[in-house]
C-alpha cells in the first residue's frame, strides 16, 4: 500500500483476499490486536461501574446529538468570547479551503500537525501540499506512515501494520528528505527509533509558527477543546506555534465538564488500556502571552448532518474513536486496515464510511458486508454503538435502496448495482420458504440426487468449496421423517 490515497481502491472482498495472504501482516496484526484487547479487558474489569459509565456515555452523546444545533452555537459563542475564531465547513473541500486561507494569512509555508482523524478524513495534508504548504505529522506512528508514503491502517496505531525493522528502514531512508536525517548506524531497537524520531521532530516543533490539530472533545459551556494523547508531541504543537488551527467534526461536542468526566474515564481504558492517558491538553480560545495568540476552530459537517437524519445509523456519531472495536474484530485482524479504503478502518469504518461518503461506489457498498456480525465490537464499544444493527441497516440500503438524506435533502436512492442475481435468489428462496410444499419438493429432489452432488461447486458455490467440504444431503428431511413416523401433522 502506498501513494497516500484511497482513490480507486478495490471493494473490500478483493482487497481483503489479497491482504489475508500476507503472512507478515497477519502476524503483526494478530500479535498487536490480541495484546491490546487483553489489556483493555483487564483495565475495564477494574471498574465495577463500567456498564453504568457506558450507558452514561451513550446517553450523553444521544442527548447532545438531539440538540446538536443548540450546543454548536454555544461552542461558537464561547470560543469567540474567549478570543478564538470559528469557521463552518459543509464538506471536505470547504474545510480544506478555509485552512489553506488561514495558513496563507500567516505567510507560512509549513505546519506541524497533531494526530487527527478529521484532517485525514478531509485529506488536508494533500490539499495543503497542492497549495504549496508542507504539513508535518508529529505523532510517532503518523510520522512513520508519512515518511513511508503509506496510509494509516488503525485509528490509534496507524502504523500497526509495520514492524520494527520496517520502521528502521523507513527512518534511515526518508528522514533526511523531510528534515533532520536519522543518525548513522540506526538499529531497530525501540529506544533508538524513539530517539531518532525525537531529534527529527524537535527541530520542527521549535521552528513551526502554525499548528494544526483535531480535538477529542469540545466542551460547550466554556468553549474548551480537549486533546487526549500518550506521547506529548500533541502538547508541543498545541502550545509552541503562534497560530493554532483546529479542525473538528461537529459531533465532538459535549455539553458540560461534568459530561466530559465520563468520557475521560471511558476513552483511555478502551483505547490504550490505561487508567488515565499521559497527556490531556485543554484550551479555551487564546490566553495573553501563553500559547498560540491566534486560534481558529474549523467545524466540519462532511456528511454528519445526513447521518444524524438516519434514526438507526446516527448512533455511529457517538463514536469517540477509541479503536476498541478494531482490536477485537476478527475481520480487521485478518484483512488489515487498508482494505477498508478510508481513514476509518474496522467495524466503525464499516458503518461510518458508507454514511459519510454514501454507498454509491463499489468499495463503499461493500463495507457493510465486511463483517460476520459476531457482535464483539458492540460488546466492547464504550458508547454502546450497536454496530451489527447498523451494518444490517446499511446492507438494506445497498440492496433495497430507499429514503436517505443526502446533502440535507430527503432522496430516494436505487439499490446498488451488481446484486441482481442475489436478489433473484433471495426472492426465489423466500417464495419456496413461504410454500412448505415447494420446500418439501426441493428437499426430496435433493435427497434423490444426493449421490450425484459434486464435492467442488462451480459459480458462487466455489467460494464455499475452495476451503470447506459441503455437507452431505440426508436421505430424508426432518419433515418427511416426522410425517412418516408420527403419521399425522399438526396443522
Amino acid at each position: 500500500m502506498s501513494g497516500g490515497t484511497y482513490l480507486g481502491m478495490p471493494a473490500f472482498p478483493e482487497a481483503a483476499s489479497e491482504s489475508t495472504q500476507n503472512k507478515q501482516l497477519r502476524a503483526n496484526l494478530t500479535h498487536a490486536t490480541h495484546t491490546i484487547r487483553d489489556k483493555r479487558a483487564k483495565a475495564v474489569a477494574e471498574l465495577a461501574d463500567w456498564p453504568q459509565l457506558r450507558a452514561a456515555g451513550a446517553a450523553i452523546k444521544n442527548r447532545t446529538l438531539r440538540h446538536l444545533d443548540h450546543y454548536l452555537e454555544q461552542v461558537e459563542a464561547a470560543v469567540e468570547a474567549a478570543g478564538g475564531h470559528v469557521h463552518w465547513a459543509a464538506d471536505a473541500d470547504e474545510a480544506n479551503r478555509i485552512v489553506i486561507d488561514l495558513v496563507r494569512m500567516t505567510g507560512e509555508t509549513e505546519v506541524v500537525k497533531v494526530k487527527s482523524m478529521a484532517t485525514q478524513e478531509i485529506g488536508l495534508n494533500e490539499a495543503l501540499g497542492e497549495a504549496g504548504i508542507r504539513a508535518y505529522e508529529t505523532d510517532l506512528a503518523e510520522l512513520i506512515v508519512q515518511l513511508g508514503d503509506d496510509l494509516p491502517s488503525h485509528i490509534l496505531v496507524p502504523a500497526i501494520h509495520r514492524n520494527r525493522s520496517e520502521i528502521r528502514d523507513i527512518f534511515a531512508k526518508e528522514m533526511g528528505n523531510w528534515g533532520r536525517p536519522a543518525p548513522d548506524g540506526l538499529t531497530d531497537r525501540p529506544a533508538e527509533l524513539a530517539d531518532a524520531a525525537r531529534l527529527h521532530l524537535r527541530e520542527k516543533f521549535l521552528r513551526a509558527k502554525v499548528g494544526v490539530s483535531g480535538a477529542n472533545f469540545m466542551v460547550a459551556e466554556t468553549g474548551t477543546l480537549v486533546v487526549v494523547e500518550s506521547e506529548g508531541n500533541g502538547r508541543m504543537c498545541l502550545t509552541l506555534p503562534e497560530t493554532l488551527i483546529s479542525v473538528v467534526g461537529i459531533e465532538k461536542v459535549v455539553p458540560t465538564w461534568q459530561d466530559l468526566e465520563v468520557f475521560l474515564q471511558l476513552l483511555p481504558r478502551s483505547s490504550t488500556a490505561e487508567r488515565m492517558n499521559p497527556y490531556t491538553s485543554m484550551w479555551t480560545g487564546t490566553t495573553d502571552e501563553d500559547g498560540p495568540q491566534t486560534f481558529h476552530l474549523v467545524l466540519i459537517d462532511n456528511g454528519r448532518t445526513d447521518t444524524l437524519a438516519d434514526t438507526v445509523g446516527r448512533q455511529a456519531l457517538r463514536c469517540i474513536r477509541c479503536s476498541a472495536c478494531l482490536n477485537v474484530c476478527p475481520v480487521y485482524e485478518r484483512a488489515g486496515g487498508h482494505a477498508y479504503g478510508s481513514p476509518y478502518p474496522g467495524p466503525i469504518g464499516a458503518i461510518l464510511t458508507p454514511q459519510l461518503r454514501g454507498t454509491q461506489s463499489k468499495l463503499d457498498a461493500s463495507l457493510p458486508y465486511a463483517s460476520s456480525l459476531c457482535g464483539a465490537c458492540y460488546e466492547v464499544c464504550p458508547v454502546a454503538i450497536d454496530i451489527p444493527e447498523v451494518l444490517v441497516h446499511l446492507r438494506e440500503r445497498v440492496v433495497q435502496g430507499g429514503e436517505v438524506t443526502l446533502r440535507g435533502s430527503r432522496t430516494t436512492i436505487k439499490p446498488a448495482k451488481g446484486h441482481a442475481a442475489e436478489r433473484a435468489a433471495m426472492r426465489a428462496a423466500r417464495w419456496a420458504l413461504d410454500h412448505p410444499a415447494a420446500l418439501r419438493g426441493g428437499q426430496r429432489l435433493a435427497a434423490r440426487t444426493r449421490r450425484l452432488h459434486p464435492k467442488r461447486l462451480p459459480g458462487p458455490g466455489k467460494a464455499w468449496t475452495e476451503t470447506r467440504e459441503v455437507p452431505a444431503v440426508p436421505a430424508e428431511s426432518f419433515r418427511d421423517w416426522w410425517q412418516r413416523t408420527r403419521g399425522k401433522e399438526t396443522k
Binding site: T20, R334, M426, T467, R468, F478, R479, R486, K491
Partner: protein, 256 residues
C-alpha cells in the same frame, strides 16, 4: 404446556438428526412436542443480507405456524437471536414506514415464547442433568449468537458437565467467531476461510473427538473446514449429545 419444535430450515433439510435428537430428548424428559408443518425458516439469511422486505412474509409465517403454543423450542442459537433481536426491529421499521403495527404485534407475541434448546432445558424445565451418556472427549464452541446475543452463559456447559462418560476439553479462543456469518462465508470467502482455519486449528489442538455447538450453521462451516484439513475431530450438535443414552447411544458418523 403446549410445546412446538422449530427445527429451522437448515436442520430440516441438512441435519434432520439434530431435529430427531431434540424430539427424543424432550420426550425422554416427559415433554410432548409438536412439529407444526407450516413452519419453514426464520428469515435470518434474508434479513442479515439486507432483504428486509423479503423477510416479512417469513415473520408472518412463523407467527401463524406457532400460534397457540406456549413454548417454541429450537436447536439454533442464531435463529432465536433473529426472532428475539430482529423481529421487533422489522416491526418497528414497518410502523415507521406507515405500514401499521401488524408486524410489531407479531414480534411482541412470538419473542417471549421462543427459546433456544438449552434455555428451555435449564430455565423452563429446570434440568441440567438430562440423563445423557456420551463416552467421548468433547470441546464446546459457544458461537457468537449463543455467547453475545442470547447470553447463554454457562447453560450449555452445565448440561455437558452432567453427561456421563463425557470429558470436556477447554477450547482456546472460544469466544472468537468461527467465520461463518451466513452469506459472509461466500461474500468474504477469504476472510471467512482464514477465521475458519484458525478456529479449526484451536479445535484440533484440544485433541477432542468431537466439537459441539448450539447451532448447525456454524458447525457446517467448522465441520467443512475440519474435514478439508483432514482433522479427526467431528462436528456434533449439542442436542445429539444430550439425546444419547447408554441404551440408545449416539450413532456416530465417525466418532472415535
Amino acid at each position: 404446556m403446549r410445546v412446538a419444535l422449530f427445527v429451522t430450515c437448515v436442520n430440516d433439510t441438512l441435519y434432520p438428526d439434530t431435529g430427531r435428537a431434540v424430539v427424543t430428548l424432550l420426550e425422554r424428559l416427559g415433554v410432548e412436542v409438536d412439529f407444526p408443518a407450516a413452519q419453514t425458516c426464520c428469515g435470518q439469511a434474508q434479513f442479515n443480507t439486507g432483504y428486509r422486505y423479503e423477510t416479512e412474509p417469513l415473520v408472518r409465517r412463523y407467527a401463524r405456524a406457532f400460534e397457540g403454543y406456549d413454548h417454541i423450542v429450537t436447536p439454533s442459537g442464531s435463529c432465536v437471536a433473529m426472532v428475539r433481536d430482529n423481529y421487533p426491529r422489522i416491526g418497528e421499521k414497518a410502523a415507521a414506514e406507515g405500514r401499521g403495527d401488524e408486524l410489531a404485534e407479531i414480534a411482541a407475541s412470538v419473542v417471549p415464547r421462543t427459546y433456544e434448546l438449552t434455555e428451555f432445558l435449564v430455565d423452563v424445565l429446570g434440568v441440567t442433568d438430562v440423563g445423557a451418556y456420551f463416552p467421548h472427549t468433547v470441546t464446546y464452541h459457544p458461537t457468537c449468537h449463543g455467547l453475545r446475543m442470547l447470553g447463554l452463559g454457562r447453560r450449555p456447559v452445565e448440561l455437558l458437565s452432567h453427561v456421563k462418560g463425557l470429558e470436556l476439553r477447554e477450547l482456546p479462543g472460544a469466544d472468537e467467531c468461527c467465520g461463518f456469518g451466513g452469506t459472509f462465508a461466500v461474500k468474504n470467502a477469504a476472510v471467512s476461510a482464514a477465521m475458519g482455519a484458525d478456529k479449526a486449528r484451536h479445535i484440533s489442538e484440544t485433541g477432542a473427538s468431537a466439537v459441539c455447538t448450539v447451532d448447525n450453521s456454524c458447525l457446517m462451516h467448522i465441520g467443512g473446514t475440519l474435514a478439508r484439513l483432514g482433522s479427526q475431530t467431528r462436528p456434533v450438535h449439542l442436542a445429539e449429545i444430550l439425546a444419547s443414552t447408554e441404551e440408545h447411544p449416539y450413532a456416530p458418523g465417525g466418532i472415535r
